[in-house]
Symmetry: D2
Subunit: 383 residues, 4 copies
């Protein structure tokens, strides 16, 4: 048990700066009170999540949403708040030029602009000390015949190669895949196989990132996790949960059993290390954002604790005996365990309140930001 | 064949005012040139679709997007342009008050406000002469436990009853269902069964509208169409097409065979009359809007022509003989027919150009609006 | 807590006779050792499930798989074993005559034969004292145009009406729906809406049964449960679980959180009574059958216990306050509780072993039937 | 046009021996009249498909269903009938030993047996002159925890390597993937990415085969085709169509537009050569088998003709201009063309009846086999 506690203490879950801003659907972005107005305020909110959970020490940035004049200053600000800058997320989907694609656009000028933005993101990595670049391409087409599927792969490969070559010695990029949205017919990196194939060709600094909301219905995500770990190509996760499509709900909210199965494969596959980044990527459209992040972090912790509790020896014995119900029983024993007391203990040992949600609510932070952050443009996906 | 031509000449497909404005996804709304800045300009664009196709004589409004001071003036404007006002679409999803629902909100004040808006829409019907109110509720929840599923049905029923009672003698409402989005856990009217059950209780002025993009993967939409027609509860369609979720692509673009099957059930079930409204409801995120509407109207026409071409006697004979391949063969013969020459003839007989896309392109209308509509706020989902 | 214990003690979960026979996929039915060879042996196995769990007092029959000369004798046999006959399941899908449908076949002779079989099932109800007839129709088509969708509804309605009229005073039928399989284009009762519409027209003795594996991907089953309870039309469940289609895995195995949400709606909607039948309907293709049933019964019990544990007052308070995270938190508190100790207590108070799986394993029953049931034809879906 | 005709004349579509035997679902296999009773009779039926279409010159075998004492004799029989032996399909899913897997079973003895069967299939290739081995593994698990996902990959890799090494100079194997069924939790080769990754490691003789019914809902199959062609890893197709899961309906019956899009990518990607095998793999559960195959072959031909008709120059011009509607229009022009007259011409030039369905019906072959093939066990998936 002390091993498990130690493992839980050592966990690091990265929260995304954009989760603290307003988000929504194409139908409406509901504005919430106290929402940050700039990257500095986002970091302040993220620091709260770390303060109450103890396992959220880094914050992912999104460029250009978090573009600042002085990244070193931003990094110092983070440090003062007790957190650090995590992965740099590129954005090549919000400029009018990208209507028909970014790095895969039929227009060479647009492709150049998009690739230049990716290279700029590596500059930000250099400036902030970040070692991870996250690449998500919304590129695709809406109508059959609109563009040439294969040519777009050629263009993608060319851009990725240029960015890969620009990476420093201790830097890597994670290539994200997504089934659909915003493209509704083809997506240029629609599945793990596509991301994997590109990464294998590029080399060890290119890895796949699994966003848990980016799959077709029925996809077995833990299989993908196990497979990528076996290949040394799992770079990390964008955690969130979904009932339908890319719903971006709080991690663990829709299918906590799935999250447990994923974490089990991480543990079993040797991915519970610094090499695999645990990142949140979700939208709090109707719930308060900081509290929503705390709940999500706790959900990931609970899934992790259960995964660590699986009696691996008993499981292996039942599996090799072909004992279907026995093996499933060992697995479910861990899942059915209430790990909240264990995590409360872990927090207490760390000097934290055992109930982060309640402690945050009592802290008055929310009331403070509601009072202070009046005026100015709230941060959101477009700001 | 003259019967078929007559039927094709008589077809009426309603286009939606919002299709002429900018639209997009949560990631980005790409602005296009020449987009209308007010309801009057939207009607002007819609009139072009009718001018070139001859089968798009009415335009659906969306309140409050198309709110004007003088609806009689707007109706007169439409009439001058050769079109008329069609269905009135309510909107209870874009006010901050509706974050947790509109007519199903746990907050009585919000419910009152939402119902009042629906009643206002009936006022607009009175003012414009529209006989159809379209009700779509984005209401639902994002998280298990967030609200009480059943109480929300009670609230929904209460509001619908109030609106139903307000309807005039020749007015009706169409209740729309949708699997998900923007709600990501429960939706209060998620499927045709829910809409149907409410409409049956309310009476003959309440009918179901089928949006072809609002179903779970694998749903057989033509079955629903056949079933609702048998029950006298099919009020109309919101046509669009999708590969994944509610993609809102051009009708017939993703699965033209499905559109044909749907139109066949309409014809077979006696729904090819004024009682069933054929409306488009789609977004032209990356393609030009007027041309996109013309293409969609033509796609619906082609599916209709094929449906009308099915040799019903031969089909019935093969069906009762249990001749699986024979019956399928009769059905596919119609689908595999190239009906474009037939539709070109129909257009020529009406005095239209046989190729509406080319004729519109040649007309210079697009260049004209691009030049004229400079400045001002372009219309979109939020305007 | 004593209320909850009482409720758990009173639960009754029906197991299906066919679960004890061999089952499989179209690719292969794997024969298992000790499988029953006739309905008497199936009842003996079912009695074991009840002996170890205390909550499986009845057994559903499937006609003709469980056809016997003397149903009174079979019922007496059940009684001697401590169980009773539950729902009678009709079968109009395994005769060569039903290739193109049973009650919806284009052939009047086949329809007559099918309806006669359903009437025979009511005779079996009379003979066994069963009060519930379960109707599942595999009827549908594989190819567009193969048969007329609407005529098939007419035929279905006609047959259902005849069966409905034959029901005795204390008898009812449950109409089952299923998205697809074995029909691959249309299914004549594909969704709850279709089943509901037919049942409403027929009257109070016709209700809908929800098989948890019969929905399109993404369907919110608990919504359907809540809706049908509100309408007084939920007759019962066929529990099983699935990752993909109608996988028929053990209840609670694929998505235990979903099973909890369903049971919560049952409790909340007043359906936790004798009026709503909790039945298992699943296949143990690769795991031992009796143990598989025991595990499934326990999974349903655990979901029920959690549903009963939800703090309804706190939930309602958070819901009406619009406290999204608070309401979700109350809901999840119940789900995250480890209810196995509570259920162990309940069993102990009833004089049962707290661990039914282990107790059954120790009992030697499996070894006994393996030794005894040698020779003869094992029961399966075709026997 | 003469190029297109030449291409259509040169097309070769392989039919599968098992399509001529009885098939069905887990619920029922409906026996049909005149069904073959051995591999020789299957080849005779397959020869009819070639006789009337002229483009089905080879027949895939399935071992052990088509096991014979003298494969040279079987090959000679085929030759006499005007056809030849095509791909050899292995079967490691119908032996009781394979309940928990074949090459991925936790039991080393079972793995050895399975691999030995695969090696035997290469022997059959040597004996029949077949150059293609098709590998489909039903291997997987039904319950979380049942077996170790990653270890199963290790076992799979080991077996594949042994088979790969056994292949002769001009032989290759095609690795098939499938989302689910018969395994309902994990499948060991569930998607193209998994198949691709194994094939890349093995070398040029290992390629991926795309069964059009084996994907998750919403998967863009033509993207996969384009991607695999770009990588030189597309070995061929198992054509069939589906509305839901692996329905195995006639190719082109469910979504003819999808089949066209797939064929377009084949043509565009240089895959319209001997290197990519066009095979049918479908079940005629309710329709006559030979006629069902003829219809399927014709559907593939029609999709191919349309794909060849696409005006590639106009398409490329519209694509590079970013003309969304123009490019889609060029694409749809080809799809909307009625290519049946063209194919009738191609057949006539070859000396065939322009209407294969009618010609076969007139031939009296069906009546002959119904009369002759009385007695004996009909071939099916188990025989």
């Amino acid at each position: 048990m002390s091993d498990i506690k130690a493992a839980l203490l050592a966990q690091a879950i990265e929260t995304p700066s954009w989760a603290y801003g307003n988000s929504g659907t194409r139908f409406k972005v509901f504005a919430q009170r106290g929402v940050p107005r700039d990257p500095y305020e986002k970091l302040a909110d993220a620091a709260q999540v770390h303060a109450f959970t103890g396992v959220a020490p880094s914050v992912a940035l999104h460029i250009p949403w978090d573009r600042v004049d002085d990244y070193a200053d931003l990094a110092a600000h983070a440090s003062n708040l007790g957190v650090r800058i995590g992965a740099i997320n590129s954005n090549v989907f919000q400029d009018d030029d990208y209507m028909l694609g970014s790095v895969t656009s039929p227009d060479a000028r647009v492709r150049r602009k998009a690739t230049d933005h990716l290279l700029e993101c590596v500059d930000v990595m250099d400036a902030t000390g970040s070692d991870t670049l996250k690449l998500w391409f919304s590129d695709g087409t809406n109508y059959p015949g609109q563009d040439d599927i294969r040519s777009r792969q050629d263009r993608l490969a060319e851009s990725l190669a240029e960015v890969y070559d620009r990476l420093g010695e201790h830097q890597r990029f994670l290539l994200e895949y997504k089934l659909f949205e915003p493209a509704f017919y083809t997506t240029d990196v629609p599945d793990w196989g596509t991301a994997y194939a590109h990464c294998v060709k590029l080399g060890p600094k290119a890895q796949v990132v699994v966003d848990t909301g980016h799959h077709a219905p029925g996809t077995n995500i833990e299989f993908i996790v196990a497979f990528l770990l076996r290949e040394g190509k799992l770079g990390g996760f964008d955690f969130n949960s979904r009932f339908y499509a890319d719903d971006d709900l709080m991690a663990g909210a829709a299918d906590p059993f799935q999250l447990f199965r994923i974490m089990f494969e991480v543990v079993r596959g040797g991915g519970y290390t610094e090499d695999v980044a645990f990142m949140l990527d979700q939208c709090h459209n109707i719930e308060p954002k900081i509290a929503g992040q705390i709940r999500s972090v706790m959900n990931v912790q609970e899934a992790t604790a259960k995964a660590l509790l699986v009696d691996r020896a008993a499981l292996a014995a039942a599996q090799s005996a072909g004992d279907v119900l026995g093996a499933n029983g060992v697995f479910m024993d861990a899942y059915n365990t209430d790990v909240r007391p264990l995590l409360a203990e872990v927090r207490a040992e760390r000097g934290l309140d055992p109930d982060p949600m309640a402690a945050y609510a009592r802290s008055g932070y929310f009331e403070k930001i509601v009072a202070e952050r009046v005026g100015g443009a709230q941060a959101g996906w477009g700001a």
